[in-house]
């Protein structure tokens, strides 16, 4: 199967919106989607929920979600929210 990777840059103030847009593209993807979180210093509850939903949709379509550049504070939030296992992390 051909792997088609998509790279999306996420802005801190637009996390929910960016994830919604990315979710719409999931149908056309195979393989994995990489979300660049390097510009996200903090994540709020809404973004966290959006991220969880995105992971669920991606999982349903067998698309691996890779988070790139997640800072250590956000990484800890994902762990505490029990979402860490839903993603792969790339520095």
């Amino acid at each position: 199967m051909e792997m088609i990777a998509v790279w999306l840059k996420i802005d801190e103030g637009q996390v929910v919106q960016a994830l919604q847009e990315a979710a719409e593209k999931l149908d056309s993807l195979e393989g994995e989607v990489a979300l660049d979180f390097s510009a996200v210093r903090r994540i709020d509850a809404k973004a966290l929920r959006a991220l969880e939903e995105f992971a669920t949709i991606a999982g349903g379509k067998d698309v691996r979600v890779v988070l790139r550049g997640v800072n250590i504070g956000v990484y800890k939030v994902l762990k505490l929210a029990k979402l860490g296992s839903k993603f792969s992390f790339v520095s």
């Binding site: 994540i43 809404k46 929920r49 762990k79 296992s85």
Partner: protein, 892 residues
């Protein structure tokens, strides 16, 4: 770098879902999920973030203090609206005042002098049960604490206080979120059910249960298996002692017991009054609007407010006005009566009013003495009040002290009201709270006023401390030929020379006497040439006392000097218990038994060494033989170190060859063991290394040419220099082995050391099976230090391994040169005999304190291995067969 997540959930506590519909479970799960998300998001907040939110919440709480109080009274029908306003204000303003400058994020406290820092870690999701008695104030308090500490809370209010509590939660939540707190940070169950509570108490994502309420809620919290703060009932005894300021005391008690109609669990329950002031006090109570019940009225009252079946207060009476309670009980009281006082004659089921009463009824007891008063207070304390609160009014510090010692209460309030005093921050400096920890007496884990610190996991960041080390030697050391002349410097009225028969015969005593200042009374005490016995030491002490000696000159080898050290100790401190002083210890600075510092007299100790090996003239050690008990006692303390050491080679010129070899190798062993000791420092290293060089160079000469003055002088100095190293860095496993073996087979100490030496070097140079804690060292350095020694000796080699091998070989050559037997077998000890002795040898060697500073911790099997290597003989040591440690960060 990709990070795979290892999912290692805690073992899940079975969720008590019985009786809950799937829909209800989904609702509760959603609540927990939101709280968990909020708590996770909260971890990103800074101190400034939470302080800003807390301030806004406090202002909102103050703004709403009155509406919330009104709502609480309307809904619960308990308490006094005006007092509940005060409670709400204390829960916001006073709590804020206490926490506003306290750190709760990141590093919260630092102790630079201890290299410690405390770092806050939020708890996560807290499930909180709130009471009917203090509903809104408790919610305000807990919300503020939770935000300050970045936690999320799910509230379960008392069913009869749900409306006011949920309103308080709403106000706090909306304010917090408006000012940036994560959504979902607070939630309030929309109805109260025991099933909901059970489900949440057992939920894996609930990290802490904070239950403030009745005994049932508290017990459920503690039974959940979760960390819990459970704060339940109390039974506050109050002792009004005759020296108290009565006007203040009575006012405080009335104020406290009527505050919010007595609903605070810290309020006064039984007042114990000294007989002498009893009538005056009751009069004062009456003057302030208290009705004093007679015996009949007290009985009626008890029947009304206490449930005869359970022995506990009637819930319907809780928080009611005194006048209403009186009416229910059929008592006739004046209008405006605010408190009912009922005399009791004892505490317990037969005295129903001696239990907790969360309404304005106060039991009172007339005590004939302080002891009786304290006894009754203890009884009240044990009748449901353990760990909670107690009050004393007194100006007698001794009585206050006794009260605080015998009463088990987390808060012992002195000359201040119970309820408002226990809350903290008003009458005293206790942290303001609406949760009183009751310690183990109340089934709690804390006796504190619950505060922000109980809503945090406090992580201690303990940095490695650089413990102080030391280098302690005699004040004055004189060395080289005729150094003994320096004895003349020390004025004395009465000097005792302690020596052995041989030295007296050789005329050494006369040499010393020559330099003692004229006019000094000199007495010579000759002791046997053997390790000193208790009896010998005590005889010596008698002579010191008889001659009122102010100076002791120890002229001899290790035995004589050791004897003199112990004589001086017992002479100066007759109460010193030698047995006790010999108690084992791991760290000199932390030892249990301290040497005496108070002395009845003082005497200077001058040690003149006549052998070149033990170095006792500069060490803090002394060995004593207790023949009666068949054991040796090793004393170690720097107070034993002689004041003056004299290292004059003229006293060693006549040492026989065997003694020269034995003592010389003892000196080498001291230096080698000190060099690799876990207590080694740059100060001891310099001495140890120098001594090793001197031994390798001069010991063979002194052995072969006993008359060589330079060699004798250098070996005498080497002995003293090595001793300064091991006096401060101690020795190692070589000495432990030699002590055990020497004692068992009657082999001289130096000879026993020699048999072990090359094997121990190889052993220490290899990777330890077990490391010893050694905070003074940076990594495992023994092999490197041996390599450095090999370099100093010019032994060659390129790698550490080669250098260590060369050192082993050089040591073995030196031993051969000095005519030492190559093996234990050569001493004529059969293999069978040695095998039989092995269990004892291992046991004794392992008990020997010498190895405590060895660089590697000897396992018993390793001790056996070393003994067997020594039995088989040198030339077999093979460091190459054991891997070398990897290079550590720091070179020698």
């Amino acid at each position: 770098m990709a990070t795979g997540e290892a999912v290692q959930e805690r073992v899940q506590v079975p969720v008590a879902a019985e009786g809950l519909s799937e829909e209800r479970i989904a609702t509760l799960e959603n609540l927990v999920s939101q709280a968990r998300t909020a708590a996770a998001v909260f971890t990103q907040f800074t101190q400034e973030d939470v302080d800003r939110i807390v301030k806004a919440m406090v202002l909102a709480g103050l703004e709403q203090a009155q509406p919330l109080a009104r709502l609480a009274v309307e809904e619960t029908r308990l308490g006094v609206m005006e007092d509940k306003v005060i409670k709400n204000m204390v829960a916001t303003e006073f709590v804020y005042n206490y926490i506003k400058d306290k750190r709760s994020v990141g590093v919260i406290r630092e102790f630079p002098e201890r290299n410690l820092a405390e770092v806050a870690e939020p708890i996560g999701v807290i499930f909180s049960i709130t009471p009917i008695t203090n509903p809104t104030s408790t919610v305000l308090f807990k919300c503020i604490m939770a935000v300050k500490t970045r936690n999320a809370v799910i509230f379960s209010p008392h069913p009869n206080a749900w409306r006011c509590c949920s309103e308080a939660v709403r106000i706090m939540y909306e304010t917090a979120v408006k000012h940036g707190a994560p959504e979902g940070v607070f939630a309030c169950l929309e109805s109260h059910s025991l099933q909901d509570n059970a489900y949440l108490m057992h939920h894996k994502d609930v990290s802490l249960i904070d239950a403030t309420g009745g005994p049932g809620a508290v017990k459920a919290a503690y039974s959940s298996g979760k960390p819990a703060l459970g704060v339940g009932p109390g039974n506050t005894p109050v002792y009004l002692e005759k020296t108290a300021e009565l006007g203040t005391a009575v006012t405080d008690i009335v104020l406290s017991k009527t505050f919010d109609n007595g609903t605070i669990c810290a309020s006064e329950q039984t007042l114990v009054i000294d007989d002498e002031i009893y009538d005056v006090v009751l009069k004062k109570f009456a003057d302030l609007g208290t009705h004093i019940c007679n015996e009949k009225e007290a009985e009626l009252l008890a029947r009304t407010v206490i449930d005869p079946k359970t022995g506990f207060m009637q819930p319907l009476a809780v928080g009611q006005k005194a006048a209403d309670i009186a009416r229910f009980a059929g008592l006739s009281v004046k209008a405006g009566t605010k408190l009912l006082i009922a005399p009791i004659q004892g505490v317990g089921r037969e005295h129903p009013l001696s239990v907790e009463k969360l309404f304005p009824v106060l039991a009172v007891y007339r005590a004939k003495s302080v002891d009786e008063a304290l006894k009754v207070c203890i009884d009240v304390n044990h009748a449901g009040g353990l760990g909670h609160t107690a009050v004393i009014f007194s100006r007698n510090e001794e009585v206050i002290r006794r009260f605080s010692e015998v009463i088990n209460a987390g808060r012992i309030l002195v000359n201040s009201p119970g309820s408002v005093g226990a809350v903290g921050g008003v009458y005293n400096d206790l942290p303001p709270t609406f949760s009183f920890g009751c310690g183990t007496g109340g089934g709690n884990s804390t006796t504190d006023n619950v505060s922000i610190y109980h809503y945090l996991n406090i992580k201690r960041v303990a940095r490695r401390t650089q413990a102080h080390m030391w280098f302690r030697v005699p004040n004055q050391i004189y060395f080289n030929l005729n150094a003994v002349e320096n004895v003349h410097q020390f004025p004395s009225r009465s000097t005792i020379i302690i020596t052995n028969p041989a030295l007296e015969r050789f005329g050494h005593v006369d040499i010393v006497r020559r330099y003692i200042p004229e006019g000094t009374h000199v007495h010579v005490t000759v002791i046997p040439d053997a390790e000193p016995e208790v009896k010998v030491v005590m005889q010596g002490v008698q002579e010191l006392n008889f001659y009122k000696a102010d100076q002791i000159i120890a002229l001899g080898g290790g035995s004589v000097i050791d004897a003199a050290k112990i004589m001086k100790l017992k002479y100066e401190s007759p109460e010193a218990d030698l047995e006790e002083l010999a108690a084992p210890f791991l760290d000199l600075r932390k030892r249990v038994i301290q040497y005496p510092t108070e002395k009845v007299t003082r005497a200077r100790l001058i040690a003149i060494a006549t052998t070149s090996g033990t170095g006792s003239e500069v060490t803090p050690f002394a060995v004593l033989t207790d023949k009666e008990r068949g054991r040796k006692v090793t004393l170690a303390d720097y107070s034993l170190t002689p004041d003056v050491a004299i290292v004059d080679p003229q006293f060693v010129m006549s040492m026989p060859k065997g003694l020269t070899a034995d003592t010389g190798i003892d000196c080498l062993t001291h230096a080698l063991e000190a060099a690799v000791s876990s207590f080694a420092s740059a100060y001891t290293d310099s001495n140890a290394m120098q001594a090793i060089r001197m031994v390798f160079k001069y010991l063979p000469i002194a052995y072969e040419h006993p008359g060589d003055e330079e060699a004798r002088s250098m070996m005498h100095n080497a002995s003293c220099i090595a001793a300064m190293a091991f006096a401060n860095a101690s020795v190692g496993v070589n000495h432990a082995l030699a002590h055990a073996f020497g004692a068992r087979f009657g082999v001289a100490h130096g000879r026993a050391n020699a048999l072990m030496l090359s094997h121990v070097i190889a052993y220490n140079a290899s990777v330890p099976m077990k490391f010893l804690p050694s905070p003074y060292q940076k990594g495992y350095l023994a092999h490197k230090k041996y390599a450095t020694i090999a370099d100093l000796l010019g032994l060659g080699g390129h790698t550490i391994e080669e250098k260590v091998n060369n050192l082993v070989a050089a040591t073995e050559r030196l031993l051969d040169q000095l005519g030492f037997p190559r093996s234990i077998a050569e001493l004529g000890i059969s293999k069978e005999e040695f095998e039989r002795a092995m269990p004892d040898l291992i046991k004794i060697a392992f008990e020997d304190p010498s190895w405590r500073s060895n660089p590697r911790m000897p396992l018993m099997s390793e001790l056996a291995d070393l003994f067997w290597k020594a039995y088989q003989g040198r030339g077999l040591a093979d460091v190459a067969e054991t891997p070398q440690p990897q290079a550590s960060e720091q070179n020698v």
